[in-house]
Symmetry: C2
Subunit: 141 residues, 2 copies
DNA sequence: TAAATATATCTTAATATACGATATAATCTT
DNA sequence: AAGATTATATCGTATATTAAGATATATTTA
């Protein structure tokens, strides 16, 4: 199989999997909120400047987004100890929970699929995800 | 490994993979537009009523969304032959292309990852995606 | 001490999203 | 054939989201 054909198939399957297995009753969370929360999750914490840069918006906008998420209880902030000008934005547990509902596969759905398959297939999937995410991190991070 | 732990790991890896490998310079496409285009892609075509139901909005809203996407050239419509009241909305090639940029992994990034890994690892990934998407279809469709 | 940095707030404007009211055309029911 | 139902389209209205310039405050650096 040609690599490009394989990539095309993987991509189609990727979207099929998400389409079928994602959470469907989600709290309303805006697109930029999701992006912001996810950046924080993947990086552990973020300054307003980080967020502005990552979202490709002005610092004012990033600050406003953050303010709204703080109000909703999805993030909190702590002032930097080395440089008190800096504010580090971190996820609350509620924020993490809400983020997962917007970005992850539905646990119950995924479980249903995995328990109904041959255990060595499930193991293959486990391994494949580990390899692919590791590969992605090595190559692109 | 406990199934729930495995699911947690898969989910974390799932989001890591997407975070690292998705297209990053995307044309501006609204959240509802993406959802609408994707519904059409996964189903081949859709009526306004289908779209309204899937998006959980009124038919007026679905019709307006569709109108805007038609204007952008991302979808087109054809009147049903059995029932001419019905309009079937289908993706244009441009629509498909734009949708893929918002929902799929970046081909070049994915390729970079796959060619740098052991070929049997790549084969494992190919197989795993096929199995998982097939499993999802069987269980949840 | 002045300049630079980091963030916060306010104001303004554009865009996204939604739905009720209304209208038209097609199909179904009586 | 007429009336009712179905499917969609358009218009008007409203709210939420998004964005950035102007301005302000606090902290750090030169």
């Amino acid at each position: 199989m040609q690599i490009d054909d394989m990539i095309e198939m993987i991509n189609e399957q990727w979207t099929d999997i998400y389409y079928l297995l994602h959470y469907t009753n989600k709290d309303n969370l805006t697109h930029q909120a999701i992006r912001l929360l996810q950046y924080i999750e993947k990086n552990g914490e973020a300054t307003i400047g980080d967020l502005a840069e990552h979202l490709a918006v002005s610092h004012n906008t990033a600050s406003e987004h953050t303010k709204r998420l703080i109000k909703k209880g999805l993030v909190s902030k702590k002032r930097g100890s080395l440089d008190e000008r800096k504010v580090f934005v971190v996820l609350t547990e509620e924020g993490r929970h809400i983020l997962y509902r917007h970005t992850r596969l539905d646990k119950e759905k995924l479980k249903k699929v995995l328990v109904q398959m041959d255990p060595c297939d499930a193991e293959l999937i486990r391994k494949a995800f580990a390899i692919l995410s590791e590969g992605a991190k090595k190559c692109l991070r």
